[in-house]
């Protein structure tokens, strides 16, 4: 998919960005995950899991709202 979206010469740069996104995701996942004990202590386990419920739901809704625009931007991509 990455290779379909961007031209050949840009692909290295884009792959770098894609990996960077995963790296940031992983780092923040572990940092937040490590907070499980303190969140449980100060709030509750439910609150801890709600963080990971609400954040992706919001991200998901945003990308669905953007769907028509994304389609336009990606015109011609199979």
């Amino acid at each position: 998919m990455v290779s379909k979206l961007v031209p050949g010469r840009m692909i290295a740069f884009m792959f770098g960005m894609w990996y960077l996104a995963i790296a940031i995701g992983n780092k923040s996942a572990a940092s937040l995950g490590g907070m499980i004990d303190s969140v449980v202590k100060d709030y509750s386990l439910s609150v801890f899991f709600l963080i990971f419920t609400i954040v992706p739901v919001v991200a998901g809704i945003i990308i669905i709202i953007l769907n028509p625009m994304m389609k336009k931007l990606m015109k011609g991509v199979e």
Binding site: G16, A21, A29, P56, G60, N67
Partner: protein
């Protein structure tokens, strides 16, 4: 088909319609993922596990474990950028795969030594090894299929199944050994299979001809073309170059300017220092960056301020300025790509809880002890879970042997041996669980007030009286005349029958009562001396066997992700082939929401649960959560990039 002489030989022998070499790569990747996931599932468990016990960990606060794991995981995705360059220019892909695998093997063994210094060196070696290995192995596949683009998707699907099979067996076996026998055995097993994988691959080199060999002058030239800016190596770049329609070939070039390079450099260095500083400052109080920065009257968090100002800002300038320089069609696609990449961050931020908080959740808040019929049901499910994938992969193995036995005997033998190993450990594991019994024993307990963190008595909300609890009378307990005592019964798990009336020494570890054998008892006493802790050893009298029992490992739950991927992936790819195939943004949105629902399930299930609560959640909550997480992952990433993680 016009075959290139370099790939011609490669396609002579076929397994399941693909060149035999693909399956050599399949198994190489399988053992690499075996090691990676085997280690991953153990790392946070080991670091946070109680420091006194029959299988002691380091009892790090979860924040520390998270900081170290996060930096390791983050670097894993950044080193391939450099590693790919080294592989392409100097080592050749095959050399990089072997060298990377050897470095990773050393890393796993370093971790198995269980000292802090070797543990950190081990992680560094894993990061370096992965950097060499990961981009190289995918490049070899790309090279193999450069004349057969139509078969490439199929090849990646097969390869992806190798990834998941490896993850599955790695988490299952390393997790089991690590938790039940000793952490070092789990970490060590990861290293052993890395070695098997590397050997098997190296011995199979006659099969590959010139594919992935060290660069000669000619290939060096094409490499230089693709690597002008020292960017990520991925052969898709080369492939694309060949297949590009004419219009795109004429696309104006957008070379990296000096400013671009400087911006990339600054952002990378700042990002790298931030990653290292985070665990170093938290765990060892070694500060590479100032803890706070004064801005007028405000005190800002140092590392974050530096990361945002010196890391993120140059990076954004770089991305935006590059996008602006493109022609409109490319530019709009690039904007779409950046949006997807941005959203991806939030996907992994939640999904990767699987490596940290979900493992801790399984360890501390899930009821992992099953008795009687429940234990039997679990054992049957686990038997099918183990044997099913093992039989399928072994079948693939025999197909490969039938095709390549003449050419690469030694490689086949090594691979065969590694499988004998997996079968033996798998069967040993199943029979061990089947033979585990709950032995009932009686022991003396005494009443004491429940204290909170500050040592103050906790009051019952309803009655207003101080809460009390009954705890074992240990060898360190001093009983006074007023202390209320009573006899309680409980069970410990045992592989053999213990005679009625036997006096046993016990130790409470997490939720479990552990029957200490002589060696374990000596170890625990040594730890008690070392940490100047109060002994929690107490004695009990055996009543007799009660029922069958299984202590499900905390790492067991992680295998569900791989299992669900293996079982559901084909459903999703069929869906994408149908006319109901949603648009990429739609898939992404749905995937995120379904994954989030998995966490919603856990939030709902754990509602009202308190810290250190005696009440544990049923295993089914976590099973269901992993099912939803996996469905979300498949929605977001199948058919996009084969490298799911």
């Amino acid at each position: 088909m016009q075959a290139d002489p370099s790939t011609d030989k490669f396609f002579q022998s076929k397994v399941l319609g693909h060149p035999a070499g693909l399956f050599v790569l399949f198994f190489t990747e399988m053992w690499e993922r075996f090691s990676f996931y085997g280690m991953r599932v153990l790392m946070v468990l080991f670091l946070t596990w109680a420091v006194i016990g029959s299988n002691p960990g380091w009892e790090w606060p979860s924040e520390h474990a998270g900081a170290l794991f996060g930096t390791y995981a983050g670097l894993l995705y950044l080193t391939p950028i450099l590693g790919g360059f080294v592989a392409d220019k100097i080592l050749g892909y095959r050399g990089a795969v072997v060298l990377g695998a050897m470095i990773m093997m050393l890393g796993h063994f370093c971790m198995a030594l269980e000292t802090e210094a070797t543990f950190l060196i081990g992680l560094a070696l894993l990061v370096i090894g992965t950097g060499l290995f990961k981009p190289s192995i995918t490049s070899i596949i790309s090279h193999m299929y450069k004349d057969l683009p139509k078969k490439k998707d199929g090849a990646y699907t097969i390869f992806y199944m190798g990834v998941n099979a490896g993850a599955f067996f790695g988490m299952m076996l390393c997790g089991y050994l690590g938790e039940k026998v000793g952490w070092k055995f789990g970490f060590g097993l990861a290293g052993i299979f890395m070695l098997f994988g590397a050997f098997q691959f190296w011995l199979a080199r006659p099969l590959f001809g010139t594919i992935g060999a060290a660069p000669d002058k000619k290939s060096d030239k094409t490499a230089a073309e693709n690597f002008k800016a020292g960017q990520v190596l991925d052969d898709d770049a080369i492939i694309n170059e060949n297949q590009k329609p004419k219009a795109e070939v004429e696309e104006k070039r957008n070379p990296f300017t000096l400013v671009d390079k400087i911006l990339t450099g600054i952002a990378s260095v700042v990002g790298f220092i931030f990653l290292i500083n985070d665990p170093a400052s938290k765990i060892y109080n070694i500060k590479l960056l100032p803890a706070t920065i004064k801005m007028g009257s405000n005190e800002l968090d140092g590392p974050w301020t530096i990361l945002l100002l010196l890391g993120l800002v140059p990076f954004l300038i770089l991305v935006i300025s590059r996008i602006v320089r493109y022609t409109p069609v490319v530019r709009s696609r690039m904007i779409a790509f950046v949006i997807f990449a941005f959203i991806t961050v939030f996907f992994w931020m939640s999904f990767e809880q699987g490596a940290t908080s979900l493992v801790i959740f399984a360890k501390d808040y899930t009821n992992r002890f099953l008795y009687g019929n429940d234990a039997l049901i679990f054992n049957i499910v686990n038997l099918l879970l183990t044997l099913g994938p093992l039989i399928i992969v072994t079948w693939v193995l025999f197909r490969l042997f039938a095709e390549t036995w003449r050419e690469i005997k030694a490689s086949n033998i090594v691979l065969g041996l590694s499988f004998v190993g997996v079968w033996i450990i798998g069967i040993w594991m199943i029979q061990r669980d089947l033979n585990t019994e709950a032995i009932e024993f009686k022991y003396q307990t005494y009443e004491r007030p429940v204290l909170d963190e500050e040592g103050l008595p906790v009051m019952d909300k309803k009655t207003g009286k101080a809460q009390t609890e009954f705890v074992p009378v240990t060898e360190a307990t001093l009983l006074t005349a007023e202390t209320v005592t009573r006899q309680d019964t409980a069970t410990f798990s045992s592989l053999e029958d213990v005679k009625k009336g036997t006096l046993v020494n016990l130790h409470k570890e997490g939720d479990a009562f552990v029957h200490l054998n002589e060696i374990q008892e000596a170890d625990v006493r040594q730890q008690i001396d070392l940490y100047k802790a109060e002994s929690a050893i107490f004695s009990g009298t055996v009543i007799g066997p009660k029922s069958g029992m299984v202590e499900v490992t905390a790492s067991w739950f992680s295998i569900l992700n791989s299992f669900f991927i293996i079982s559901l992936a084909s459903f999703f790819s069929k869906w994408w082939e149908s006319k109901y195939n949603p648009s990429p943004a739609m898939k992404y949105g749905l995937g995120l929401i379904i994954m989030a629902a998995g966490f919603g399930v856990l939030a709902f299930g754990s509602y009202g649960l308190e810290e250190g609560s005696e009440v544990k959640l049923s295993m089914m909550w976590l099973v269901f959560a992993y099912l939803l997480h996996t469905m979300g992952e498949l929605l977001c990433f199948t058919g996009w990039s084969f490298y799911g993680e």
